[in-house]
């Protein structure tokens, strides 16, 4: 495996295969668009699933090759063509795959393929079957472009592309206007973030331009940042915060998270793929990619951590009161993303990415399981109308349960290891004022408990507890077809097992995952990638290399036990409320009264946005932009031109009187003028 060039030549297959699938299925959908029935589902499924599977196969092949390479040389790159060549700037359509990208690629193509297979079962019978797969493949293309991009503009292309596909897929059943509105909301909120992202990108570009080498290539940026430390450090805070706002939009953090719960209007596979495993993690990926800039701006990193933690606990609290099973999972996603941002905010990039990977498994499994439940109940989504489904849908129940245990953070399932690594990193972090890391750790711990509670609340309400299933739904109640249950099993297995990759040194593991990602997150030219998390650079966050020492190892184990206890308490509390004393929950909510209503209505944040932002925006667009500027000024100018032309014509018309002698008169005048000119 020495000569990597032939391997790099395969890179283009990874995004292009789904693109081809999208085009083919799109054409099929178009051709059949006027007819009653869509194209043959078998054919569409074949095309739609073959594409991501092909990408997955190529990714695995490249991964095998990468493992055989030396740690520092684990890079595949390939330039397809020059996209923009303007003066000093050249931006190529270039791919660059290192260990981090490879990790993301495995997740995106692997989980993506499984969800494609699941969708063949879930979307069976839908008139828009082909259109769905076309959009889904298109999304894969955009996401893969984002992950594999060598430079920031290309990343942004993928960034926008996933936003577009998200809009298309959320509003998939567009005939219901509420779905279309949800899609619109997602896109617009994303756009707000994108604006900040662009400005951040421009700032970085400006710095490189002033240094003489205008570029937005990530490897080049990294090299330049290492050399021209002061120039970058000056703008780092601004750029990082702006980029983070972009990440907030894409990854649904405060204050731009409002689109994610509404996005549940889309089909469940969409929620699983886009809003759990892949698109929403783009923000985390971006920050991990640009870790060298965040290192130079500890203030910005602190902001990231704080916002992440706040979002985590905030969203978890909303999850307590939701009735719709998908909404619970949506807020859970927001909360877990908060964890990831908390991790990268304190410099534990590897931990954040590890949680990203484990979250992809168990959250996708949870969503697909919810989809299976909804499918089996013919569309019911309210948990208070479910119950005792464990008897009727065994596979769904088991996989859901496994994933729930994983997300709650119970060892030895995956969620425990990733969440714990984050909490440990936060505990030891040096970010912001001295008390901040401890506060963040407490918040993280509390959120862990809350997560365990609301997830198991969902489990108990759905699969155990009182049987509230309606009569009609009972008739059709059945376990889902193999196309749907197989991916569930695979994902649940992953959720159970993936944790082995990140077993920390303290309890005897070797933390393979962290070592795999080390070259990416090593510090500046020196590369002090020791211990858990970031390398050293002045003022930046450093997780003590003292993790090696035994004293801290004991502390680590203690903290682990604490978090397990908290999680278990959450599970038991949920069991208490929803299984053993069914009436207790209702009594509890009435006692909380107003506070409960507040939480149930998501703290009225959407209503706040509506009042403060949407309505004034609408008023400006209508009164100012439309009435005044568009209809008034611009149309006035255009009409004015017409009126002026008409006036000119009218006045000149007077010359054409029809009286010939007047013409003779004018001729004489003209002649005299000519004479005058001649003799001057």
């Amino acid at each position: 495996m020495e000569d990597i060039r032939p391997m790099s030549n395969l890179l283009w297959i990874i995004p292009v295969a789904p693109l081809a699938g999208a085009v083919l299925n799109g054409l099929l959908a178009l051709i059949y668009s006027g007819r009653e029935k869509g194209p043959n589902e078998r054919l569409v499924s074949l095309i739609g699933c073959a594409a991501p599977l092909l990408s997955f196969a190529v990714v695995v092949r490249l991964f095998m090759a990468m493992r055989g390479m030396a740690a520092e040389a684990r890079i595949f790159e390939s330039t397809l063509f020059t996209w923009i060549a303007a003066g000093p700037v050249q931006i190529d359509f270039a791919y660059w795959v290192d260990a981090l990208s490879m990790t993301m690629l495995l997740v995106v193509t692997g989980v993506g393929s499984l969800i494609h297979i699941y969708s063949t079962g879930y979307m069976h019978g839908d008139r828009g079957f082909a259109r769905f797969f076309s959009y889904l493949n298109l999304f894969m293309f955009a996401m893969l472009t984002l992950v594999m991009a060598k430079n920031l503009p290309l990343l942004f292309v993928g960034w926008e592309g996933v936003g577009l596909c998200s809009y298309l897929l959320i509003g998939f059943w567009y005939k219901d206007i509420a779905n279309a509105a949800a899609g619109k909301k997602a896109f617009i909120v994303n756009r707000v973030g994108d604006f900040a992202f662009l400005i951040g990108m421009f700032i970085l570009f400006m710095v490189t331009m002033n240094l003489g080498n205008a570029t937005l290539d990530v490897p080049e940026l990294r090299a330049m940042a290492a050399v021209h430390h002061e120039a970058f450090a000056k703008v780092a805070v601004a750029a990082c915060i702006l980029l983070f706002i972009g990440a907030c939009g894409k990854s649904a953090q405060i204050p731009l998270y409002v689109w994610l719960p509404d996005a549940m209007a889309g089909p469940t596979p969409v929620s699983a793929l886009i809003h759990a495993a892949t698109m929403v993690t783009a923000g985390v990926y971006m920050i991990a990619r640009l870790n060298f800039v965040y290192e130079m701006a500890p203030a910005a990193s602190a902001v990231v951590a704080v916002v992440g933690a706040a979002t985590a606990i905030f969203a978890a609290s909303i999850g307590f009161a939701q009735r719709d099973i998908k909404k619970v999972l949506a807020y859970s996603t927001v909360s877990q993303l908060g964890y990831m941002f908390l991790a990268v905010g304190v410099g534990a990039y590897a931990a954040g990415v590890f949680h990203l990977v484990t979250h992809a498994f168990f959250k996708a499994c949870l969503f697909l399981g919810a989809g299976s439940v909804i499918h089996g109940l013919s569309g019911e989504q309210d948990m208070f109308r479910m119950g005792q489904l464990s008897k009727h849908m065994k596979t769904t129940w088991l996989t859901f349960l496994i994933s729930a245990i994983a997300i709650a953070g119970i060892p030895p399932l995956a969620g425990f290891f990733s969440k714990d690594e984050i909490l440990w990193s936060v505990f030891n972090a040096h970010v912001g004022p001295a008390w901040l890391p401890r506060v963040l750790w407490v918040v993280g711990l509390a959120t862990a408990g809350m997560t365990a509670f609301y997830v198991f609340r969902a489990v108990f309400l759905t699969f155990h507890g009182k049987d509230n299933v309606s009569h009609e739904a009972k008739h059709h109640l059945h376990e889902s077809p193999p196309a749907m249950t197989m991916p569930l099993i695979v994902l649940a297995a992953g959720a159970a097992v993936v944790g082995c990759l990140g077993v920390p040194a303290a309890i005897g593991g070797s933390n393979i995952f962290h070592h795999w990602l080390e070259p990416v997150f090593a510090g500046h030219a020196g590369g002090h990638g020791v211990g858990v998390g970031m390398g050293a650079s002045h003022g930046a966050v450093t997780i003590a290399a003292a993790a090696e020492s035994h004293g801290s190892a004991q502390l680590e184990i203690i903290l682990m036990i604490v978090s397990v206890v908290v999680a278990t308490a959450g599970i038991l509390f949920a069991r208490l409320l929803y299984v053993q004393m069914p009436g207790a929950a209702a009594a509890f909510t009435t006692r909380l009264g107003g506070f409960y209503t507040l939480v149930f209505n998501k703290y009225y944040i959407d209503e706040l946005y509506e009042r403060a932002i949407v309505r004034p925006g609408y008023a400006i667009a209508d009164k100012l932009m439309f009435r005044l500027i568009d209809a008034g000024i611009i149309e006035g100018i255009v009409n004015g031109l017409g009126i002026t032309a008409r006036l000119f014509g009218a006045s000149f018309r007077l010359l054409q009187s029809g009286v010939v002698r007047t013409y003779a008169f004018f001729m004489l005048m003209g002649f005299l003028y000519l004479v005058y000119e001649l003799v001057r």
Binding site: S657, G658, V659, A664, L668
Partner: protein, 103 residues
Amino acid sequence: MGEVTLNHYLYLSAILFFIGAFGVLFRQNLLVILMSVELMLNAVNLSFIAFARHSAGTMDGHVIAFFVMALAAAEAGIGLAILVMLFRNRTTVQAGDLTLMRD
């Protein structure tokens, strides 16, 4: 009184020309208009003859004056024919009454 030079003839020619132009523009009777045009042509003729005399001895001016006269004759003939036709149809020779093009 002094020498009668070329300039005298030219001034006279100009005066006659403008008198004719005045007649064309400000009189309504078609016959008067026609005659004013003849006056203008004559003024130009005078100018040509004067130049021929006071130039290098060639008689080009005479020839041109000859041509002008021939053309004036043709034009007068046709103009009068038109005028007669007009009078037959409209029984008027006032230019102000002929408003077909204006209306």
